[in-house]
């Protein structure tokens, strides 16, 4: 929880106006509760990433490599040459401010440097100084002129400012929806973080999961035996709740489908219930239709914190998906509920690690549906897959078991603005829950708000930042909670499940968080199940304890 600030204090601490001093003259103040800890050098080293070392953001001296400026300038130049996006976005912003109050971190903090445009200007100012003709000529005349065109030299203080604010952007792309030129500050943050990575300025919450994932196959560093222990746990719980013993399959060569989901769901509540949901769904499909879905511990991570490190690191982690699918000889890959995992799969994976010509165009053997939209990447989202099953009436469901819930749905930034998956999860949820309400239109679908902790910012030490960033989402939840008694916030993202739980507990304590598949599994009538009196959380189902469970009206 936020260490000092309660919600009222946090709300009243939002700065209504920018400070008196101009942004270039306002030095960065690295605040506790906002910044994340520096990376453990061992993790950085394990990945052979540059300049692993001990350093502390709160201290004056960051132990920068001697030629840090050269490295950054060189790195900047390379990226301008490799990414048209960076080059164009550096040049064309008109500073109209349309993106300003679209960022949840700005809304929640009032810090003007959290306006997407100013976040980008932090880099753009250096770009103008070092890479544009106008900047070079005008800058050489006088320092005052430099400031007028918004150029400045890269100094240690500027670098610290970059670091501080680039790790206050969750790469959610909400700003890019509103920008008249589609300038995507997330893209600028991605580049900026790559540059920081070149001189070893990583944060631990990203670097260590990446190192873990590289080695053990998942962010949490769960080794195969521990992974299996958890799965055994879940199997026991499922048996207790449903009376059915599920038998998940692991690394089975020649299985039909390889399933990959974020490892957060194996270890952290309430994701664990979603994980149990997958196991029950797959068991159902196996029993009823003989569909053979297998899990892997080598590729046991859907998420990809490499994406928050550099394009190359993203590629290194992502490569395991295809490698494992190829080794096991499956037909195609099914992906679980995760946000940035799906941006990587949808917009990067095939380009980086494809072509996946050893896989088949995904076909649901149960419904015959050909997933044309995934015919090259060969990876299908569990919401697409499940929606198709429900549409074809292939799942026996009792939505009444979710009647004690009034549900709303949070679009994860990445599945919304990096994919456009809006209807599939809604269709599934509405088929397994009778009470569903949308949050206000400006806070869902392509305009959805980040949970406040995306892109590797869900650490413990930056809780003030997370609660600030979580405010717009939580506020919309509060609205439907008060208006429609919503008590369950559904999402399709593992980081959401962890982060929203904390944020909702802080802002709207009466609402809980669930994954989509947990809701499905609660409604799913398993072959040979006992009378269900408990949900997956082992809580009593109201009205189901005794024999005459009545239907509530919708």
């Amino acid at each position: 929880m936020s260490e000092d600030l309660n919600p009222e204090e946090l709300l009243s601490s939002i700065a209504p106006k920018p400070p008196k001093t101009g942004w270039m003259d306002t030095p960065v103040d690295i605040k506790k509760g906002i910044y994340s800890y520096a990376a453990n050098p061992k993790s950085v080293e394990y990945l052979s990433l540059p300049h692993a070392r001990q350093w502390n953001p709160a201290e004056e001296d960051w132990n920068l490599p001697e030629n840090w400026k050269e490295i950054i300038t060189q790195g900047f130049r390379e990226r301008l040459d490799r990414f048209r996006s960076v080059k164009v976005f550096m040049d064309i912003c008109v500073r109209c401010g349309a993106c300003a109050d679209k960022c949840h971190f700005f809304i929640g903090s009032g810090d003007p440097k959290n306006m997407p445009v100013l976040r980008a200007e932090l880099l753009r100012s250096v770009y103008r100084n070092d890479f544009t003709t106008a900047g070079k000529i005008i800058g050489s005349i006088s320092k005052n002129f430099k400031k007028m065109i918004g150029a400045r030299e890269l100094t240690v203080d500027v670098l610290k400012e970059w670091w501080y604010y680039l790790f206050q952007c969750s790469e959610c792309r909400r700003c890019s929806v509103f920008c008249p030129y589609g300038i995507d500050t997330a893209e600028i943050t991605i580049m900026g973080r790559e540059l920081l990575n070149l001189i070893g300025l990583n944060i631990d919450w990203i670097a260590t999961p990446v190192a873990n994932c590289y080695r053990t196959g998942n962010h949490l560093g769960i080794q195969p035996h521990a992974f299996m222990d958890m799965m055994d746990f879940f199997t026991d719980d499922i048996e207790e709740i449903t009376g059915v013993k599920v038998e998940p399959s692991f690394m089975k060569k020649g299985a039909d489908i390889l399933f990959i989901t974020p490892s957060g769901d194996v270890f952290a509540d309430p994701g664990t219930y979603t994980c149990m949901g997958y196991m029950m769904l797959f068991h159902y499909l196996k029993e009823k239709y003989g569909l053979d879905i297998t899990w892997s511990t080598y590729a046991s991570e859907g998420g990809n914190f490499g994406f928050f490190t550099s394009h190359e690191t993203m590629k290194r982690l992502n490569s395991k998906m295809y490698a494992e699918a190829k080794r096991l000889g499956v037909k195609w890959i099914l992906g679980g509920e995760c946000g940035h995992m799906w941006r990587v799969i949808h917009q990067y994976m095939d380009t980086m690690n494809g072509p996946a010509d050893f896989l088949e165009v995904p076909v649901s053997p149960i419904t015959g549906t050909v997933f044309e939209n995934a015919k090259s990447t060969k990876m299908v989202h569990i919401a697409e897959f499940t929606a198709d099953l429900i549409k074809h009436d292939k799942l026996e469901l009792d939505p009444g078991r979710n009647d004690h819930l009034t549900v709303t749905y949070h679009d994860s930034c990445n599945t919304a603005r990096g994919m456009g998956m809006f209807e599939e999860p809604r269709y599934v949820i509405k088929n397994v829950c009778n009470n569903f309400y949308e949050m206000p239109a400006n806070t869902i679908r392509e305009q959805t708000f980040c949970c406040g902790s995306g892109s590797g910012l869900n650490a413990g030490e930056n809780m003030d930042l997370r609660m600030q960033g979580g405010l717009p989402r939580a506020n919309a939840v509060k609205y439907v909670h008060e208006k429609h008694d919503v008590n369950m916030l559904a999402c399709v993202c593992a980081i959401d499940r962890a982060a929203l739980t904390t944020s909702v507990e802080y802002w709207v304590p009466d609402v809980e968080v669930t994954g989509m598949t947990e809701l499905v599994a609660n409604a799913l009538i398993m072959p040979g199940e006992q009378k269900r009196t408990m949900n997956l959380r082992s809580e009593e189902l109201p009205g189901m304890e005794d024999d005459d469970a009545e239907e509530e009206d919708v």
Binding site: R84, K87, R95, P180, G182, M251, K315, M379, A459
Partner: protein, 378 residues
């Protein structure tokens, strides 16, 4: 307080005075009437092309469109073929909407904290209205000026003029575009200085083109309605410019040189400034690409080769543990005959056989502490 607009205002006034006074001196008319405009035209053309080519030289390694509508997935779910375009036709329509109607800006909202704890969003249309008025007025003015460069004046231009002057006020007839341009520029300026956060981000280089355009519009209006410049002479002059046989006619006055010089400055300023958003919007990868990224492979010309952690490495490190919990492995433990069907529990340390270029293994990287510890539930 951000007062950088003062610098820009002063700069534009100085430039205007410079042209007004300069044109009065010997040779000044030729300088401001012929040499500067030709140089400016050249700078604009070369600069603009250079900038576009320079952008185009950098590849688009990944397909990163911002999806603002339902994806095309299952046949029974209606997809947003423009806001999330899977076809080139969809992209073309999306781009036209962006360029012609400022589609994204149309979404603009403001966010306000009400009653201390409620965030309220309101549709904010005025920036869109102002920007659209500004650009269309500018566009109309530019197109109308083509009559100075063409002989005979094409019918469509004459039609546009009739449209633009439909109010039929005054003599010479009032052209709406010039007035709207001036008013919209003033509106955009006021918005910039009156909205605290927009003022905070504004640079002198943001005010400069606004003042410049105000100056151009103002001097134009002055000439047309007040000093009543001799249009025939102007036409003779501009025709001379475009046919590269320039000559300076009499009686066109100082304001004309101010007008022409400010236009020249705008032309020179254009390629080196944010005004290049005119070209940039067409090249913005979040808007101009199809979103069928899972259906069609996008090629990255420099797809970096990377070091990866293969399954073999993984199994070599964890084979024993995998075998212990009954996970299938590709290679059996060394002590066992390879055809042993079931997992043996020999806790022999696996000798990593052929470890190609793995980075040094660290002592296990510290596990992130956050997610609630695994000892949940009984």
């Amino acid at each position: 307080m951000n007062i950088s607009y003062l610098y820009s205002l002063i700069a534009v006034i100085v430039l205007a005075l410079f042209a007004y006074v300069g044109s009065k001196f010997g040779g000044g008319e030729a300088l401001f009437g012929i040499i500067f405009p030709l140089l400016a035209g050249l700078t604009f053309t070369v600069g603009f092309i250079y900038r576009i080519v320079d952008w185009a030289r950098s590849p688009v390694p990944f397909r990163i469109p911002t999806t603002c509508g339902q994806q095309k997935s299952l046949p029974w779910i209606e997809s947003a073929c423009i806001e999330n375009p899977t076809t080139t036709a969809g992209v073309v329509v999306r781009m036209i909407l962006e360029v012609v109607l400022f589609r994204s800006l149309f979404r603009n909202t403001t966010c306000e904290l009400k009653e201390g704890d409620k965030l309220a969003y309101r549709w904010e249309i005025w920036l869109w209205v102002g920007a659209l008025a500004f650009h269309y007025a500018f566009f109309t003015v530019v197109v109308r000026h083509l009559r100075f460069f063409m002989e005979p004046v094409p019918v469509c231009l004459q039609f546009l003029e009739t449209l633009d002057g439909f109010l039929q006020i005054g003599l010479p007839g009032l052209m709406l575009s010039g007035v709207v341009l001036l008013a919209a520029a003033v509106f955009l300026f006021l918005r910039r200085i009156l909205t605290p956060h927009v003022r905070y981000i504004s640079l002198a280089s943001d005010y400069f083109p606004l003042f410049l355009i105000m100056g151009i519009a103002f001097s134009g209006i002055l000439m047309r309605y007040f000093t009543k410049v001799e249009i025939v002479n102007v036409k003779a002059f501009t025709m001379g410019l475009v046919t590269l046989q320039p000559h300076i006619p009499d009686g066109i006055g100082g304001i004309f040189y101010v007008h022409l010089f400010l236009v020249s400055v705008l032309l020179v300023y254009f390629p080196f400034s944010k005004l290049m958003h005119l070209g940039g919007i067409f090249m913005s990868p979040t808007r101009n690409l199809t979103t069928d990224t899972r259906a069609k492979r996008h090629i990255n010309p420099w797809n970096s080769p990377v070091k990866i952690h293969t399954y073999e490495h993984y199994e070599d490190e964890f084979r024993e543990k995998m075998v212990d919990v009954g996970l299938p492995v590709d290679k059996m433990l060394e002590a066992q005959p390879p055809e042993a069907p079931e997992a043996p529990e020999t806790p022999e340390a696996p000798e990593a056989p052929e470890t190609p270029e793995v980075p040094e293994k660290p002592e296990v990287p510290a596990e992130p502490e956050a997610p609630e510890a695994p000892e949940k539930k009984e």
